[in-house]
Symmetry: C2
Subunit: 512 residues, 2 copies
């Protein structure tokens, strides 16, 4: 297999959407379940999620949060308390109306006699039910802050679904906090945004732009919504995590009040923030190539996969022993602060098939061991991030086993940082700055090639109807406002949308 003939049947430039589906299928990450809008997450996809969970959970706990679990079902009436919130979600919720089935003429039907008095909504997010708990838990300033998180499934009835990016049911963590002061709650909102930025960049090797969403893109009921936005290889933006300052919106709706130090009753200030299995979609579209997925070592279920080259001869047992010893040696090493995750793939299949299966899955390092490697005390090493030589041939290097084992931690760290550097260079190269006219922005997306990237423009931060008009103009071009980057240069010119002095910079792009 050479560089112009890749492991996937479709390349990114041929059809990015089809390529995305091909990666998921060929890497055995997930599949359609037969249940509308719901996917089955297979072991390799779920293994990546488990790694993400472990690393993000550690970071969430390190910032003082504890995990809890709240009910899947939320009574309809809870949503009525917060009008703006329900408006944002009301159109797409799964509703449980009955609690029993019965047999009728040999068929199963819903038992009409088992109708619930109050319908239950399958949680689309848990602000309402967690707010109700907070109102029980918070009495005094001494009870604040409340810092909690839950890992859960949520359901939003989506009409058009795409695996990992938009599914009816998805997995996520949702953090919820209550604070005594607005300043503290706002600071916490930004602290969690920073936790997400670091997680995305340091663990998923996915560079992001952290910033505030414009008013029209706020979470229903939020006073301010922040996001991390990642650029996919097709130039589109993926909102990969959000952090919301909710002010007293939910505290009022759910009656979260505390006695302050002066003995007065005050409303708590709340925040919420979430990251979901969507992050796996981001990983695929950040690191995948035409041979499949490339998983950054920190989130790879297996970092090193050993493929024995068996020939149905007497030597096989010795090769397997050699591989087992190698796996144990690797597991004794550490990389990126954790023990190396090494797997011996001893399944009954051809070595070449196994190699390509792991290439498509994106294991960071594949080690092949045949009788000749064994005899020389060597291993043949394939780096997934540098799969081909300049001549288009597969790059496999023979190394002394001890040398490979001793350096594996360094190599994995190098692969991790190399994937980030590559993605960061692409992000930086594909944000166009200095666009001062709307026509120029329009032209950029018309003539910017197959994958045009984003434009950062100066704007006057319009609100209400003015913002709505901007949004409509952009929507006509299939564009959206992404966020106002935290670390953008100050505005010095004129708003690109409205001829007023600009106050800040905002990113514009196509998005998922």
């Amino acid at each position: 297999m050479t560089a112009n003939k890749h492991a996937l049947s479709v390349t990114r430039t041929e059809d990015f959407a089809a390529w995305y589906q091909a990666v998921i299928a060929e890497a055995d990450m997930a599949e359609e379940s037969g249940v509308r809008g719901c996917m089955v997450i297979r072991p390799w996809g779920y293994g990546i999620w488990e790694r993400m969970q472990r690393l993000l959970d550690d970071a969430i706990k390190a910032t003082g949060h504890e995990n809890c679990y709240f009910p899947l079902f939320i009574p309809l009436s809870y949503f009525e308390k917060e009008a703006e919130h329900v408006e944002g979600f009301a159109k797409e919720m799964a509703v449980v109306t009955h609690h029993r089935l019965k047999s009728e003429g040999g068929k199963l039907v819903v038992d009409p006699e088992a109708k619930l008095e109050e319908p239950l909504v399958v949680r689309p997010t848990s602000e309402t039910v967690i707010g109700a708990a907070f109102s029980r838990w918070v009495q005094s300033w001494r009870d604040l802050p409340v810092l909690i998180n839950q890992w859960a499934n949520v359901v939003r009835w989506e009409m058009r679904t795409r695996m990992f990016l938009r599914t009816a049911e998805f997995l996520w963590q949702e953090g919820h906090t209550a604070h005594a002061s607005e300043a503290e709650a706002r600071e916490h909102t930004l602290r969690m945004l920073e936790v997400y930025r670091r997680f995305a960049e340091d663990c998923v090797a996915m560079p992001v732009i952290a910033g505030e969403k414009p008013e029209n893109e706020r979470f229903p009921g939020a006073v301010a919504t922040y996001s991390i936005e990642a650029m996919m290889q097709d130039g589109k933006a993926l909102q990969a995590g959000t952090s919301h300052f909710l002010g007293t919106t939910f505290a009022e709706a759910q009656n979260i009040r505390f006695q302050n130090k002066e003995g007065e009753l005050e409303l708590a200030q709340t925040t919420s923030w979430g990251v979901s299995t969507r992050m796996i979609g981001g990983l695929i579209m950040t690191h995948g190539d035409d041979d499949g997925l490339r998983v950054p070592p920190r989130v790879a279920p297996w970092q090193v996969v050993i493929v024995p080259m068996l020939r149905d001869t007497d030597e096989d047992a010795a090769v397997l022993d050699y591989c087992r010893a190698l796996a144990a040696e690797l597991q004794g090493q550490s990389a990126l602060g954790e023990p190396v995750r090494a797997l011996l793939d001893a399944r009954p299949a051809k070595a070449a098939n196994k190699r390509w299966a792991w290439v498509k899955k994106g294991a960071p390092i594949i080690v092949e061991v045949g009788p000749r490697d064994m005899a020389g005390g060597n291993v043949s090493v394939i780096r997934r991030d540098r799969l081909y030589q300049d001549n288009g041939k597969l790059a496999s290097t023979i190394q002394p086993r001890a040398e490979f084992v001793a350096a594996v931690g360094t190599l994995l760290a190098e692969i991790q940082s190399g994937l980030f550097t590559e993605a960061k260079a692409r992000l930086d190269a594909n944000i166009r700055r200095g666009v001062t006219e709307f026509a120029e922005l329009e032209r950029f997306f018309e003539t910017g090639g197959q994958f045009p990237g984003w434009v950062e423009v100066e704007w006057s931060r319009p609100t209400g109807a003015e913002l709505e008009a901007v949004d409509q103009r952009l929507k006509a071009l299939k564009l959206t406002l992404r966020n106002v980057p935290q670390d953008a240069a100050p505005a010095t010119g004129t708003c690109v949308f409205i001829g007023r002095p600009a106050v800040e910079r905002v990113l514009v792009g196509r998005s998922y």
Copy 2:
């Protein structure tokens, strides 16, 4: 506080059910959510679940399983395929019938136009939807065995609920496997039963009896169901985990067929097995005492809690520094194969209140540090498993800090094994053997005191209507058949229920 005045408002002997609820409330483990049958699991309860998950997940992975995730919703028609299975669950399932709400006269209502074509059942268990996936994954003998597991929430519409023991929604793991031969599947069913037995005994310090459930207690659709049964302090049995050999029941219903080595199409043999948050209920009723919970160190979120005795003086800062250093030293130690989990509780509350809060939560070791301890380079150590001296006073021992730190691993291991030994002695003492007449069995439960325990009797393993009759006789006494212990002595006498030669022994008791 002395031995006859305990931290809870109700003792086990006064009212065991009220005591159970009091432990959960006073230890901040969980609370009613306001959503019918669903609880909120609070940080201390969820932290114990996270520890259980981590340990059991490791054991499940060590036996070759990988984690996946399957849809929450199961189309109604999936249940029709397996008649016996649906019969067992049909009466108690949450059904999603609509996918949208709408506003009507200022109120939220279910939008009648958004009715689903096919109702979706919220999974009560996932055999049907996982079986459908297996039928896609399994083509050849080379694809077998399939060994997977998922951690998920499930819903069974229970009329009478009790926190952790029986809730409408609960959390669990469900393992599902497919095998090429019946022998292999049966062996795997027992392997997972053994994983559960070890988990319960080694991690939760909860002794159990592993054995086969009688036919009438089988999982719907199973060929054989095995359980681990634990004895609660009120003598009742808690089924704490089950493992099912499903034969070809689900393979037939879901069409899981493979080409065997001879090229013939064969049905796969499947198994399933689960452990749930019910295990937390078991932990409470195994180890709790009249001062609250006692958590075995292996599943304790915090194993050592440090409570500084602050007096609002200049010395406070030094005491806190001393405590911080102590926490770091403890975290550097290892206990039961893991780093020690030590917490410094520096919240603004009275030291005595914090002490009793941790006593009620059941942290294995509470260390108090006041100025005098600090001056002497000491710590004051309270063991939750030996809270009182013989004279009824609280047992707190002053120890040199370095000595305590060096021995903390040993101490935690001793507490872990001590809790198991105590519970095992109670289990052994409360299984009555040698009962040969039904009247004697009846008398045992009538006169066996407040918490009578179980009876192990010889029986003839009746089936069908005969078994039904036995079951009815027992139910009249509020008794059930628990299981046929794997390691019971062989039967030598006559069936206690039916005057036939006995073939094995079975446990009888009250149960949760």
